[in-house]
């Protein structure tokens, strides 16, 4: 209720400022706008922005402060409204013939632009803080050696849980390994074929088709794993071979995730292969090498650092992927080598510990934050490494 009234009044001030500022400026110039320093519209914008920014600014500060000193909500709205009014009056009375309205407006807009770009930093800070804080609380209740080196994962909401991360990490790495084993050869060969062999027509059809795979949401892959790939693998491979009878398995999740990563590997590799200078190809072909020999002996060595970077980026994707493993890999934490057994991953356990009824004082819930920060550090490390390798490689040909 307060919010609606506030925003209506603020809108009135802002829109009123646009017109009144303009009118006063024209009046100040005695009707001849060429007398003014700035265009009349800037005088209007100046009043409107001053009112709007003051109001929203005080509202934001007040909203944040109320977390610590508990102000009643109507006080904050009233203060914000008063601030908006004050901004309006201040900007309005400053208008005269020589007032540099354009410079003032541009300074305010510049402030807004800088504020918008710092949101990216705030997000990172928010991510790190939200997790570091809760992780600290977790480690004050649970020993970190047990968390990082424990080999059993059995949370128990009555207390006394074993929260060893190794089985989850093993599941994550195993699934990612299978996914990469699928995606890297297929993606790499697809990129080679499309950039070196395919005619423009084939390329024009096949490349977008493969890239559609990248636009499909992961929940769709998850459902695909759940209803098609899982039962298929169980009925035709796992059960006849006596390897297990679970439809959700490392293999299911790994294969489907591999399909998801194909376009990722192929489009990155495609860019990198295309960046290898044509003169190197021509030189090799001119010496009598076949195209495949050229690719294997000339292009691949030159593109290798970039391709390694692409693979690392794909690996970081695989490690952080959630929906495919939630639906395809199962929930049992296990340290096992059998790929047809259900295993679980870090992301699955973050989801399962944080959904449903959660109690933010128990280690069983807080462990999710420790898992989250492990995941964040792992993927961040891979990304930074990949970007470093890619960047270093790029310098060679530019």
């Amino acid at each position: 209720m307060f919010a609606t009234i506030f925003f209506v009044l603020l809108a009135v001030l802002v829109i009123g400022g646009l017109f009144l500022g303009r009118r006063k400026a024209i009046a100040a110039a005695g009707g001849d706008v060429k007398q003014l320093h700035s265009l009349v519209s800037y005088h209007g914008w100046n009043v409107a922005l001053a009112a709007g920014l003051a109001g929203v600014g005080v509202l934001a500060v007040g909203g944040f402060a109320t977390r610590f000193i508990g102000l009643p909500i109507n006080v904050i709205y009233t203060a914000a409204l008063l601030a908006a009014l004050a901004g309006f009056v201040y900007a309005y009375q400053r208008i005269d013939r020589d007032f540099r309205a354009r410079n003032t407006v541009e300074t305010m807009v510049m402030g807004l632009l800088i504020a918008a770009s710092s949101i990216a930093i705030l997000t990172t800070v928010g991510i790190v803080f939200s997790m570091v804080f809760e992780t600290g609380r977790f480690f004050s209740q649970y020993s970190w050696t047990h968390f990082f080196f424990g080999t059993t994962w059995s949370p128990n909401f009555r207390g006394n849980s074993d929260l060893g991360m190794l089985p989850l990490l093993w599941g994550t790495l195993y699934i990612s390994f299978i996914a990469l084993a699928v995606a890297v050869p297929i993606g790499l060969f697809a990129a080679i074929f499309l950039s070196e062999y395919a005619s423009p027509r084939v390329r024009g059809v096949a490349k977008p088709l493969i890239e559609i795979l990248a636009g499909i949401p992961t929940i769709v892959y998850g459902l695909f794993a759940l209803i098609t790939v899982g039962p298929l693998l169980r009925d035709y491979f796992a059960e006849p071979l006596g390897l297990g009878e679970s439809a959700s398995s490392v293999m299911t999740a790994g294969l489907v995730m591999g399909v998801m990563l194909i376009p990722f590997v192929s489009s990155l590799s495609d860019d990198i292969i295309n960046a290898v200078p044509q003169s190197m190809r021509d030189g090799s072909l001119g010496l009598g090498a076949t195209p495949s020999e050229t690719i294997r002996n000339v292009i691949m060595p030159a593109a290798l650092p970039g391709i390694v970077g692409a693979i690392l980026l794909a690996a970081s994707r695989a490690i952080g992927e959630t929906m495919i493993v939630v639906l395809g890999a199962g929930a049992a934490a296990r340290l096992s080598l059998n790929p047809f057994e259900a295993m679980t991953t870090v992301t699955v356990k973050i989801v399962s510990q944080l959904t449903g009824d959660t109690d933010f004082a128990s280690p069983e819930t807080l462990v999710a934050f420790a898992l989250g920060i492990t995941l964040f550090v792992l993927t961040l490390g891979l990304n930074v490494l990949a970007l470093y390798i890619v960047r270093k490689y790029r310098e060679q040909y530019e």
């Binding site: 632009l113 928010g126 949401p217 076949t290 961040l380």
Partner: protein, 455 residues
């Protein structure tokens, strides 16, 4: 490069020297050509595998999901008993709406008894009236009640009404439940399947397009036939609105600053590295951020589209910033120079000239970012959007703070339920999601084709 590619010429040299001809392929050339062919085929296979995977994926989802748009209905005459529905006889809407859903079931049962007797006369075996009543969905009472409240004048008349049949009968007509599986299932009887065949033959039972799947809210565990996507679609729409209203202005503002104004210094370097890293942070981490900051710290309501929208905004921002910066960079400097040359300020040059020229590219990037946000599931799971929500949220802005779900989360929700009929629902929901994604991507492609300028 090296001589690794060349054959060991020294060994082969002397023996083939006498009859060397360019028209006859020697063993070595043949071997190398074979390797070339194999390599090429391997590449073709890789492309084929990728395309095949796409085709299999789409076929499997479509074949599992398309039936969910059709539902089986049973037509029956029902007498709307005034003694039960409107004891006072005044047709007062308020009094009628006080009659509980539960009171409607005897009426439905009564109307189906007549049908059961009819079927028995035609020789249906082992069919009790209760069995026939069980073929109707548990959601039928509520639908009949809604109908009566909307049309109080029909009380006391006999009307023809279409009841949803229960999921087992529906799945039987779609070929997913067979007589063998029904014999093992405690919730359906083979006699009911026989009755369903009879009813289909007589035209009382039919399969037709079911708008309720798209508009109705979710239904409970035991009524997959009544479950719909209404609340999820509304929730997704609200979240997309929030993402559009926040991510587009913030993203464009940030890109303008970084691309046009920022001096190269430590701070801008940090921001740039930050943005490229944020683009690669796993989406679930954004969910943890939303849970810790927006829900635990700022006390925004659980399961509300506002929280989902904020989390998705933060997630989409890097995508939009990267796209916007690329399109700002594509505007040639001559445009800026010309504007500055006729006396525009730097800010005027950017806002009056560069930004309009970059707009199509920005829009395309934004649509693609929205499409990515629309399909995102994992962060929404953590902020409680998996809850079972039956009530439509109000119109914004109030509705933004009410519980809702999102389309992809609804899919996840369906997959977590025991009844196999929900698999069909989940795939159907995916089809709806994919239709939206295809539309968004097509719009982006058309925009790019129409407005993209090469300088």
């Amino acid at each position: 490069m090296t001589d690794a590619a060349m054959p060991p010429a020294a060994a082969a040299g002397p023996s083939r020297k006498p009859k060397k001809s360019l028209h006859v392929l020697d063993d070595n050339t043949r071997r190398r050509n074979g390797a070339e062919r194999r390599f090429r085929i391997l590449g073709g296979c890789a492309v084929g595998t990728g395309v095949l995977a796409l085709v299999v994926l789409l076929i499997s989802i479509l074949s599992a999901g398309l039936p969910s748009f059709q539902q089986t209905f049973l037509k029956a005459e029902i007498y709307l008993d005034p003694a039960v529905l409107d004891p006072s006889g005044e047709r007062d809407p308020e009094a009628i709406s006080k009659i509980l859903t539960f009171s409607y079931s005897p009426m439905i049962k009564g109307s189906l008894t007549a049908l059961a007797e009819e079927l028995e006369a035609q020789g249906a075996e082992n069919l009790t009236p209760k069995m026939l009543a069980d073929m109707v969905s548990g959601a039928a009472n509520a639908k009949l009640r809604d109908y009566v409240i909307a049309n109080p004048d029909e009380i006391g008349k006999t009307v023809e009404f279409e009841f949803l049949t229960n999921a087992r009968i529906d799945q039987y007509l779609k070929g997913k439940v067979t007589r063998e599986s029904a014999a093992l299932d405690s919730r359906v009887d083979v006699a009911q399947l026989n009755a369903a065949d009879e009813l289909v033959a007589s035209g009382a039972m039919e399969k037709r397009f079911n708008w309720d799947f798209i508009t109705a809210p979710d239904a409970s565990e035991n009524r997959p036939e009544a479950a719909g996507l209404g609340v999820a679609l509304l929730g997704s729409l609200y979240m997309m609105l929030i993402v559009l209203c926040l991510a587009l202005p913030i993203g464009v503002a940030a890109s303008i600053y970084l691309e046009e104004f920022a001096r190269k210094n430590f701070l801008t370097d940090v921001i740039e590295v930050n943005i490229s890293n944020l683009a690669a942070v796993p989406s679930i981490v954004f969910g943890i951020l939303g849970l810790a900051i927006f829900i635990n710290m700022m006390h925004l309501p659980n399961s509300a589209p506002i929280v989902g929208g904020l989390v998705l905004t933060l997630m989409t921002l890097p995508t939009i910033i990267i796209a916007t910066r690329a399109s700002l960079k594509a505007v040639p400097p001559s445009i800026r120079d010309a504007a500055l040359g006729v006396g525009a300020s730097k800010m005027q040059a950017v806002f009056h000239h560069v930004l309009p020229l970059a707009a199509p590219g920005i829009l395309t990037g934004t649509i693609l970012g929205l499409a990515q946000a629309l399909g995102e599931t994992a962060p929404l799971l953590l902020i409680g959007m998996v809850a079972f929500v039956r009530d439509y949220p109000d119109a914004p802005p109030g509705g933004l703070f009410e519980p809702a779900t999102g389309l992809p989360v609804q899919v996840y929700n369906f997959t977590q339920r025991a009844d196999p009929a929900f698999v069909e629902r989940a795939s159907g929901a995916i089809i709806v999601l994919l239709v939206f994604l295809v539309i968004m991507n097509l719009v982006a492609i058309i925009l790019r084709r129409r407005f993209e300028r090469r300088w």
